[in-house]
Subunit: 688 residues, 2 copies
């Protein structure tokens, strides 16, 4: 078939890119070796028929779960066949592009036992789990309780006579709910239940609980299991999120995971030595989510950028016209400034998310190294940081994905864009691993402590809160204004960082003052929850500051000849990266402009010049956009998008996908004889 | 079964409401007679088995279309049996709560023929259409063209020899695409095609085109029809959005709708007398959408408010604690200030949308009255207004619906909330009937003309642009600041309106100055599309001003003893309505605070007091929230939500819904023997 106009437009767009795309891909994924391994793993998945995505748009929850089970077991086999590590497993999940019943086995069941079990327990449970002789999940959330672990209503009562725990769903709302892998797949779970000995409540603890017979997969007597039904937007539809009720169900005492707390045969309870050790796994989960947001948002921007490059509509002169092509054609939609101003900041955000995901993981690894040698100094800061970034990054990840879909206009509402599936996968991240609003209290509590430290022991303020020192002299701080005099001043990283630091410092001190004043107001004392709006503001402000800083630092490191090879980039790539970093910083300011202007830090003239600079940066990226998204290196199999495939042949692919619709396999639809014909003939034949 | 805590909480919340809910319902729906009729129609639908919604969560697109056809034909029968009018038909569609293949028959096919057909054409096509002896749809959008009507690639070429049109899909991208009702149901369509006579292109015109045989429903030779496949988020899944290709397909000359343009037997083309007459139908469609947003967002806030009233989590002291209930219980989630500050402004928005939907429809009706007597003075303003409001209202409608879902935390991701389905139905409105970004050019073009008028003939400025006169004296205008001195000043409607007027005037003059300067800049001339970001800003600013104004006016009218009975409300309701109006105005300011502060109109101190006033208003509505959403009068059948039902029995209903999951009808899942067991046994049995 002859090359379509779509394909010509795509090929032409690629000729304009100024930098080496491979170089940029290596920067993003941390070096050529990583890129190659990621491609190898994705291809491994793409070659397996069970992971084919062609019929996903038609699977209802019931059929999807069955598919999810088939995919799960094959995934397990591949992992064993190729002896893949956790990183490769994560890449397989990225390639598969859906949550499967088995993910909690490797993602929660095994890690929880490894981190909270004794040596003997690990020896007992982990080898069969790694050989998939048992399949596990993680049962925490209940119908009535999610965030509030201490009020879980599932109990584990010690029965000294038999040396057992009696697991009981004490109330209707004690039913375990939302448990991935529970409804169909799992033979075991690790269960969060409140531990009772002789009537005393010791709070939530973790137990390994057999659920189904290894002989015939039937639930054991006393265990009631089921699926909680379909999810929003058809999301997570291959996942068997389940419920469980326990009716005085007995398990051996040894099934309590006892690395930290212990209960002896005699029913003597021993407390854990350190309460905060489990924070590490929360930091890990949240850090992984930040990296995932980079992968997700970059996919959405890839699809939108490619489609809008080949979509043409209206023949408008624009200041960025594609006059070098046939002048009889309509304007490429991506050449409209409004479209660029919506889309390109999200490409910049995707790059910033790559940098943030990578640096957050470094912080986690460094924390783990410290903690393994008993040093927990960094724990509080890293935990707060991961919380704030999880909240902010998953918020912009989900919102940006949907914005990319809307940018694609009418065809954006087709399932075949691939973006709707992406949104359905990504948006629950705003709620799980800590609701994005509730979670911001972690960073704000941390900052309040840091404000106190700044006032009393300024030398002890932690690295990322150093900006608080700016506000110690209140009258001088209040008089501080932004130093931008000329438009190009906005492009100085130190000017950008100073603005974010000023904003964070102001909001943190305002929150601190309000909390103090609120407590002192005897007539109308404020409680912590009265400050939660401000907690959200300051926490996201801090997350944005961190993102801006890390992106700048990542580009600096890429230029450093002394830096590790993996992250180095060439001159042309660096120049474009710097523009992306400027756009990310300044667009984030513009989106939150009130925070910078309401105390007079920015002047009216600076607001105008900031907006102009954002527009100028966006325009400067017009020829780079297609290269910037190609650099994410997402293959067609992963994108699963008729409109976002690499060759740009969007209309042809959309047409081809539509031909696979089962409705199109019949000339006259089901329901004609039963419904349509009787209606048409109700008042007799008509002559026209 | 004993009353659950959920039910107790719901009943208790209702005891605190200060106003008469019935009174408020009558205010919202325009009087007791309307309320009664709406309930009657919804009940009519609820009693029909074909409209039962219990299995919707499991229907894939193929099954859903078949259901959609069954629902369509029953809907047609009911309409005929009860001889229902258009308003009742709209209420039926509200009750049914999904888009059906047949809606374009009544919503587009018939109206287009009625408005664009001659008397003879109406006599020919409308009676059989009204008796459903033919079924029609509206075929405009193509694979390659949506917004740009003038570039459609489907042609209708006049063949004088046979007095026929030859309909042809000239290119691959000429395929009609997205046409609702086309893939399965319709026998006819009204087709937009470019009219050619002797090689001359007369642009897009409308033709009645027979598609399928009335004998056996098979497509006629030369007509290729099919379904375009599933849609995003499983939305519109009962709708048979289709494609069509025409291969030199002949229809009689008389099938061109000739009320305006005409083509004679001799091939002589006659132009329409007035080019803008068709704007009326666009105004109508957009006005209807605003009313729909009121109905949709009010449903989402109803569900969220009810669930959060009965959901309890953590036992935190809050400044709005529910200490009058059992102090051993956790805090109702709705009592957290953060939750209230997210949710209550959306309740206020819903009320404002009711007022706006009603007033926009009045404007449309008045315009039609004028136009029928040849007066088109108001056309430009009303058309611009409907465009700006459509863009703004559908944006906040879709975003607010999703925000309500997220407010519900983990359970919010269940399909059984009912909100995900709502979002999938609502969000394409951001794109259809004019993309929300593109559409804002209508209002901004209009305002630019008004700026010119203000400068040259200030007495001729139209009513809603009067604020432009404020800015005629630039130096005085630039020195204008907001008059708020005390927090309570924010509660003066004239202060609120002055702020919105100032902002609109400033943005409109800035846009006007930029457009003029851009054209004069010889070195780097700006084109219209370079200003589209500013168009969006000023257009949404104007829409917000109109919304604030109309809500205020609606409450004033409700207090007027001389006003029509339908909209009158009692004192206690008025007091709460005024708080809602304040919250709507001030929260809209806060959300867009940059626009009010960046030119110095608001001072830093005013920003602080505005935020405090918003919080105070939110707190003042805590006891009213459940009454405010009950007043929307959405019955359980309509909401179709386990978590948002009127009785508040959320957990029980969620449990019951889960039990209907087909996966739960088997003790051991499909796929065990085939997939799970072989994996478990791969390395032999394990002893644990």
């Amino acid at each position: 078939m002859a090359e379509t106009q779509n394909q010509k437009d795509m090929a032409h767009a690629r000729t304009k890119v100024s930098f080496n795309v491979t170089d940029m891909t290596n920067y993003l994924h941390g070096g050529a070796a990583n890129v190659e391994q990621r491609r190898y793993i994705i291809d491994l998945i793409a070659r397996e028929p069970v992971f084919n995505k062609d019929d996903w748009g038609w699977l209802n929850h019931t059929d999807a779960v069955k598919r999810g089970i088939a995919m799960s077991t094959r995934l397990a086999e591949i992992k064993m066949e190729h002896d893949l590590n956790d990183l490769d497993f994560a890449t397989m999940m990225e390639a598969i592009d859906d949550t499967l019943p088995i993910v909690l086995h490797n993602g929660a069941f095994i890690p929880v036992i490894n981190s909270q079990g004794t040596e003997e327990q690990i020896d007992k449970w982990i080898p069969p789990a790694e050989k998939y002789q048992i399949l596990g999940c993680y049962a925490q959330t209940e119908l009535g309780h999610g965030s509030n672990l201490s009020k879980l209503e599932t109990t584990a009562t010690f029965i000294p006579e038999t040396d057992e725990w009696e697991i009981n769903s004490t109330t209707f709302t004690a039913s375990k709910w939302w448990i991935g892998g529970l409804a169909c797949l799992s033979t075991h779970c690790v269960l969060q239940a409140r531990l009772f000995i002789k009537g005393h409540d010791y709070g939530a603890h973790v137990f390994v609980v057999p659920l189904r017979s290894l002989d015939d997969h039937k639930p054991f007597p006393g265990v009631e299991l089921g699926d909680i039904g379909p999810k929003a937007f058809n999301g997570f539809n291959k996942m068997d999120n389940g419920f469980a009720r326990f009716n005085k169900y007995r398990i051996p005492r040894e099934n309590m995971l006892m690395r930290f707390s212990k209960v002896s045969k005699e029913g003597v309870y021993t407390k854990p030595p350190h309460a905060k050790l489990s924070y590490g796994s929360m930091v890990l989960l949240r850090s992984v989510l930040i990296k995932q947001m980079a992968l997700y948002l970059s996919r959405a921007t890839t699809i939108a950028t490619r489609y809008l490059t080949v979509r043409r509509q209206f023949n408008n002169p624009t200041s960025r016209n594609d006059a070098d092509l046939n002048p009889g054609l309509e304007t490429q939609v991506i050449n409209y400034p409004m479209v660029q101003n919506r889309l390109f900041p999200m490409i910049a955000q995707s790059y910033a998310l790559f940098a943030a995901g990578s640096e957050m993981m470094n912080k986690y690894i460094s924390l783990m190294t410290d903690m393994s040698s008993g040093n927990i100094d960094a724990l509080a800061e890293v935990h707060a940081m991961s919380s704030a970034l999880k909240s902010y990054c998953t918020t912009i990840g989900a919102a940006g994905t949907e914005e990319c879909r809307k940018l694609m206009g009418g065809h954006g509402f087709s399932y075949f864009t691939g973006i709707a599936h992406l949104f359905a996968s990504i948006v629950p991240s705003n709620t799980y691993e800590g609701d994005n609003y509730v979670l911001t209290q972690q960073m704000s509590r941390y900052l309040l402590k840091e404000v106190k430290t700044a006032k009393t022991q300024p030398e002890k303020v932690t690295p990322y809160s150093k900006y608080l020192l700016l506000a110690l002299n209140k009258s001088a701080f209040d008089r501080t204004t932004c130093g931008v005099a000329h438009a190009e001043d906005w492009l100085k990283p130190e000017v950008q960082l100073a603005a974010f630091e000023h904003r964070c410092a102001r909001l943190a001190f305002e929150l601190s003052d309000a909390v103090e004043a609120g407590g002192l107001d005897q007539a109308n004392p404020k409680t912590w929850s009265d400050h939660n709006i401000e907690c959200y503001r300051v926490s996201h402000a801090h997350a944005q500051y961190t993102m801006v800083l890390w992106f700048i630092q990542s580009i600096q490191a890429a230029q450093d000849p002394a830096s590790e090879e993996e992250r180095r980039a060439e001159g042309p790539s660096i120049k474009v990266l710097e523009r992306l970093s400027h756009l990310h910083a300044l667009h984030t300011m513009q989106t939150n402009l009130t925070d910078f202007v309401e105390d007079g830090y920015f002047s009216p003239a600076q607001c105008q010049s900031l907006r102009a600079q954002v527009k100028a940066l966006v325009a400067s990226l017009a020829d780079e956009a297609i290269g910037l998204v190609d650099a994410f290196d997402h293959p067609d199999f992963l994108l699963n998008s008729a409109l976002g495939a690499a060759d740009g042949n969007a209309y042809k692919r959309l047409w081809d996908k539509a031909q696979t619709e089962p409705l199109n396999q019949k000339q006259v639809c089901d329901g004609y004889e039963e419904f349509i014909r009787p209606l048409l003939k109700k008042h007799g034949d008509v002559k026209l």
